[in-house]
C-alpha cells in the first residue's frame, strides 16, 4: 500500500520530467523532421526544448539537467564525446564561475557597512534622495561587479533602514517596496552596462566569436550600452516613488540609527583596502587585457589573488558557489554551439523571418522586435542568462548586423522586471518576504515600457553615431 503511494507521489513530483521524456521520445521516434532541417539539427532542437521544460518546472536539480543536455548530444549522435566536452568549457563559463566566486569573496569582506555610510553621506535623510541614491549606486556598482553581488551587499542596508523606520515593515509597505525595488531594479538596469555586469553579456560575446561576428572590447561595450544605464536611473527613481508612495518623506531617525550601527565597524581596515584594490586590478584587467586573455580568465585570476592573500577561504568559496548554475551554463552554451553547427538556429531564424516577414515589411524592425520581445518574454520565465544562452544562436541567425542584434538581445535579457525569477536581484528582494509578486507587476510594466523606449532611442539615436 505504502509503496503504491510512494510511486504515485514520485509521479506527482516528477510529472514534468515524465512529460519531457515522453515528448522527447515521441518527437524523436514518430515525428519526421521538416525537409529543410537535417536530423542532427532536429535532435538538437528536441534536446533544447526538453531542457527548457525541465529548467522552467525544476523537477530535477540543475546539474542533472546540465548532464542530460550533455549526454543526450552524444546518445543522439549529434556529436562525439570529445567535441561535446570541448564545447562545454569556454571563457564564458570561466567568467560565470569566476564572477560567482568573486561575489562570495567581495560580500564576505563586510564592505557593505562602508557602502551604507557612503550612500547616506551622499543622499542625506530625505526618502526620495535615499531611493535615488540606492538606485544610482546599485546600477553603477552592478554594471561592474554584477547584480547578484550588489543586491547581496545592499539588501542589509535597505532592510536595516526599513526596520529602523518602523517596527513592523508591513506598516510601511510603500517605503519598504520603494527601497527594496530601488536595489533590485537599480542593479538590473545597471547589469547591462559592461560585459562584467552579468554572465549573459559574456555569453553573448562568446556567441559573437563562435558565429564569426567579430569581437567587442570592454570599453566598446560601455560606449554602446552605458548611456542607456545612465538614462534609465532617474526614470526608475520616478517610477518607484510614483508606484509605491513611501509613507515617510524623511528617514531622519532611521538614518541616524543606521549611522550609529555602521560606525561600530570602525575605520576601514587594511584587509578591506586590499579587497578593494584587488577588485580594481581585476576591473583594469577586464578593461585593458580582456581581448588578449578573455574576461573569464581575468575573473579566475582575481579569485586566485583573493585566495592567495587569504581574503577568502577555499572552503567558503566551495560552499557558497552555485556549481549547478556553472554546469548548466556550460551545457546550455554547448547545445547552443550545436544549434549553430547543425543549422538548427538558422532554420528557426528562417521560419521566424518567413512567417513574420509577411506581417512586418522592414527586415531591421523584424529582427529587432523578434530579438527583443522573444528575449524579454523568455527572461521573465527562465532567467536572463539562460535566455541568452538559448535564444542567442537564433537571433544571431536572423540576419542584419549581428553585433547590434546581440547588444539588443543582451540588453533585453535584463527586462526581467515582471517576476521574481528573472533576475537574481529580484529573487533576492523577494526572499525577504516583504515584497509580493504583484509588486513586481505593479512597477514592472512601467519599467518594461521605460526600457523598451530607452532601447529604441539607443538604437535609433545613439548607435548610428558610433
Amino acid at each position: 500500500m505504502n509503496s503504491y503511494i510512494d510511486i504515485l507521489f514520485w509521479i506527482r513530483q516528477k510529472k514534468w520530467l515524465l512529460i519531457a521524456l515522453v515528448y522527447g521520445m515521441l518527437m524523436h521516434h514518430f515525428v519526421t523532421p521538416p525537409p529543410d532541417l537535417n536530423p542532427a539539427a532536429f535532435d538538437a532542437l528536441i534536446i533544447i526544448s526538453m531542457a527548457l521544460i525541465l529548467i522552467v518546472t525544476e523537477p530535477l536539480p540543475l546539474p542533472a539537467i546540465a548532464m542530460f543536455m550533455l549526454f543526450m548530444q552524444v546518445v543522439l549522435g549529434i556529436d562525439t564525446a570529445n567535441n561535446v566536452a570541448s564545447s562545454f568549457m569556454n571563457d564564458a563559463v570561466f567568467f560565470i564561475m569566476g564572477s560567482l566566486m568573486l561575489a562570495v569573496a567581495i560580500v564576505s569582506q563586510g564592505l557593505d557597512k562602508r557602502l551604507a555610510l557612503g550612500i547616506i553621506t551622499l543622499t542625506g535623510h530625505k526618502t526620495w534622495r535615499i531611493v535615488a541614491g540606492f538606485t544610482a549606486i546599485s546600477a553603477i556598482l552592478a554594471s561592474f561587479i554584477g547584480e547578484h553581488t550588489v543586491a547581496a551587499m545592499m539588501m542589509p542596508v535597505g532592510l536595516t533602514l526599513v526596520r529602523y523606520a518602523h517596527k513592523d515593515p508591513r506598516k510601511v509597505a510603500g517605503l519598504t517596496a520603494a527601497l527594496l525595488f530601488s536595489i533590485a531594479y537599480g542593479a538590473t538596469i545597471g547589469s547591462i552596462g559592461t560585459p562584467s555586469g552579468g554572465g549573459r553579456n559574456v555569453i553573448m560575446m562568446n556567441y559573437w566569436a563562435e558565429f564569426g561576428a567579430g569581437s567587442v572590447t570592454y570599453l566598446e561595450w560601455i560606449k554602446y550600452v552605458y548611456p542607456m544605464v545612465l538614462f534609465q536611473i532617474p526614470f526608475t527613481v520616478f517610477i518607484l516613488l510614483w508606484t509605491f508612495k513611501p509613507e515617510q518623506s524623511n528617514l531622519d531617525s532611521a538614518v541616524r540609527k543606521l549611522v550609529v550601527d555602521v560606525a561600530r565597524a570602525g575605520k576601514i581596515k587594511g584587509r578591506e583596502w586590499l579587497a578593494i584594490i584587488l577588485f580594481f586590478l581585476v576591473f583594469l584587467g577586464w578593461v585593458f587585457l580582456s581581448e588578449a586573455f578573455g574576461l573569464g580568465i581575468i575573473a579566475l585570476l582575481g579569485v586566485f589573488l583573493y585566495l592567495s592573500f587569504g581574503l577568502v577561504e577555499w572552503q567558503e568559496l566551495n560552499r557558497k558557489t552555485n556549481w549547478g548554475v556553472i554546469l548548466l551554463f556550460g551545457a546550455a552554451i554547448s547545445i547552443g554551439i550545436q544549434m549553430n553547427q547543425t543549422g538548427a538556429a538558422e532554420w528557426i531564424a528562417h521560419v521566424i523571418i518567413t512567417n513574420l516577414g509577411k506581417v512586418i515589411d522592414s527586415p531591421a524592425i523584424l529582427q529587432g522586435s523578434v530579438s527583443v520581445l522573444l528575449t524579454g518574454v523568455m527572461s521573465n520565465i527562465l532567467s536572463s542568462s539562460a535566455t541568452v544562452a538559448v535564444v542567442g544562436p537564433i537571433v544571431l541567425d536572423l540576419g542584419g548586423d549581428q553585433i547590434l542584434i546581440g547588444f539588443a538581445t543582451a540588453i533585453a535579457s535584463a527586462f526581467g522586471y515582471f517576476t521574481a525569477v528573472a533576475a537574481p536581484a529580484c529573487t533576492i528582494i523577494y526572499s525577504s518576504g516583504l515584497v509580493k509578486s504583484k509588486d513586481f507587476l505593479r512597477a514592472g510594466w512601467k519599467m518594461g515600457v521605460l526600457s523598451l523606449v530607452s532601447l529604441l532611442g539607443l538604437s535609433l539615436l545613439w548607435w548610428p553615431l558610433l
Binding site: 503504491y4 539588501m155 550601527d261 557558497k320 532567467s383
Partner: protein
Amino acid sequence: MTKKKVPFDPKSLKFLTAVSSAEYSKPTLKMGALIASVFDASHGVVYVGERASEFHGSSVNLTRQNLDNWNIIHPGLEVLEWALQELKKLSPENEELAKIQFNPDHVYEEDGRVRVMLPDDKGCRIELVLREGELVDQLRKEIQLEGYDLAIIGGSQNKRHLAHSILQYLPSSIFVLQKFNPRKKYKLLLLVDDSIATIKSIEWGALIAEKLGWPVRTLTVSKTKRFGAGYQGAADKAKAYFDSRGIEVEQFFLTGDPVRTFVEFAGDNHFVIMGASTLNPVKQFLFGSKPIKTLEQTDVPILIVR
C-alpha cells in the same frame, strides 16, 4: 522512515502544526496547541516557505548570510519566533515553556531543513522547524522524518485544490482548520461507517469531546433506505464507546449521497471527524475518496484520522 506509534500512549504522540505567518496562522497555532495538550502530545511547528529558483539559490543564500551579520533574521525564523511566543501566551501556567528562549543563531541545518535549537527545553517537547519548497512535499518529508501522528494545517494553506494531495500523500492523520473560529462553540460530528478507520476516529473524537466539553453527534449515511448490519453495528459500537466514557451522544441516520449529506449536515457549526479512506491508493488517485471529496466541499474544520 515513519516510526510506528501505539495510539494514545500519552508521551509518544507527535503533532505537527504548519504555520505560514503571524497574520494568518494564529487560530491554527492556537488549535494545534490545544489539541496537543488534549492528547499530551509533543508539538512540532513547521514553517514552509517558498524556495528560491535554483538559478539564484546561491545568491539568496549569500544575501541571507550577509543579513545575519546585520542581525536581520530569515523571515521564516521570524514566524517561528512568533510561534514560540504565542505558545507561551497560550500556556501561561507552563513554567518550563516560559523558560525557553528563542535564539536565531542557534539553528541547525540537517536533512534539508533548519531546526531551531531550544537549549532550555526541559521536557516541553516543542520543535521549531523551517523548511523551503512545495508545501505537500515538505510536510510529507517532515512527517516521515519525525514520525508525526497528526498534521494540523490552516484553511488558508489548504487551498482546496491541495485537498487531494494532502489526504493522499501525507502519511499521518490530518486536521484541516478551514474557517476555524476559536471563539465559536462547535459540535463534534463523527461520521460513522463500517470501515476500520472509524474505530480510531471514535477514540480520537471521544478524547477531544471529553477535554473540550463539546456536544457529540454521530452521523451514519446509507445510499439506500436500508441500513445494513455493518453500518448499524458500527453506529451502535460508537454509541456504546461514548456511553462507556460518560459522553452523551446524539445519533443520526440519513439516506443519500454520503459526501453531499455529510457536507449539508455539517453546515457551518460542526467540527467533523472521519476515518481516512481504506480504498486502494491508485483508485483514490483516479477517483478520489469520501474524505477527499468531503474536504473539498466543506468549509468546517475537519479531522481525518488515519
